[in-house]
Symmetry: C2
DNA sequence: TATTGTTATACTCTATAACTATA
DNA sequence: TATAGTTATAGAGTATAACAATA
């Protein structure tokens, strides 16, 4: 990464003027006037996988966010707790690798869950450098409900698709990021 | 949101102790000892659409980010410029609605593109409150190459899928966020 | 020497309130 | 009054460098 990308820099003073644009395919404008847009044409963007995958992810995650608020869990909290419940003794490093979180950014997240009484931290039995993360009884109970809610949400979203399309979609999505 | 999430606070002293966990399905640990994890089980998360859609989006966008760096364009810059090129005279409001960006966050973005000589701003011919955004010749030239690069990238990603699966994937993704 | 976990820090992204000019 | 654009600002999310303890 080259740095921060300056805001006010300059490089190009932007003199270029406002070429009257003689008759260059007006978007939705009259004859020779300044064109304006009535209906936005986003067809090119909509042809891109990244654009569509991001929009779909945001739509699903938005619903996820709303329903998990009842448990005081953001998506990342849910992900971490789910992994801890299903993998008692998992280390921070393993969480980071699995979820793509950087270690410094996991510290406060885990500390917060510990303060809420959802995670116990015990010395790792094989590696003195590491700390094992263990679900408390409260966490196990909470995640039973939360994962049920997630499954319900999944069913609701699946209702937008035809039977079998959910499995197809999951399979294709996994093929996209497999190996990353 | 309750605030900043305290660092060392306390609230719950986390006494809960380390329940020896008699024989409760050890993740990968021996008999009665503290369990630890050898291979992380992420099967539940991997069954969720949101999780997979997000990972796929991030994987694709990451490649996008790398290749567009050659043009000095982040994904959002590409999206904005693409819409401006295909919709000369589009307004900030129309960009925000199409891309899901909040107006205050578009201001510096557009200003930056204008400083780079890629966008001209002209008064809207029908609405005195609005400003039409127009591509400069440099922007048109740049986006011809950038959109070609995006199409190439699309083909590379599509190589991971069988013929026809890309169309299927796009169709299913759109069904997920349709109406949002 | 390499790795785990941590602190401090900085940059980016996203969100809200409030203001102006025009419709 | 409602909308387009803007400013200022706050809050998440994400990133790097550097350190202590252990492997």
């Amino acid at each position: 990464m080259p740095a921060a990308r300056p805001r006010q820099a300059d490089a190009t003073p932007t003199p270029r003027k406002a070429t009257p644009r003689p008759r260059a395919r007006p978007a939705a404008a009259p004859a020779g006037g300044v064109p304006f847009v009535q209906a936005v044409d986003a067809s090119f963007l909509e042809s891109l996988l990244g654009y569509n995958a991001r929009r779909a992810a945001l739509a699903v995650i938005d619903v996820f966010l709303q329903r998990m608020a009842a448990y005081g869990l953001r998506p990342v909290d849910f992900s971490v707790l789910s992994l801890v419940v299903h993998n008692p003794g998992i280390t921070s490093r393993q969480l980071c690798t699995t979820l793509g979180i950087l270690p410094p950014n996991l510290v406060n997240l885990v500390a917060s869950l510990q303060e809420r009484g959802l995670i116990d931290r015990l010395p790792h039995p094989r590696d003195g450098r590491a700390t094992g993360l263990h679900p408390t009884a409260a966490a196990t109970k909470l995640m039973q409900k939360a994962e049920r809610t997630a499954a319900d949400l999944e069913a609701d979203v699946a209702a937008r698709l035809a039977p079998g399309e959910v499995a197809t979609l999951l399979r294709l999505l996994r093929k996209l990021y497999a190996g990353d």
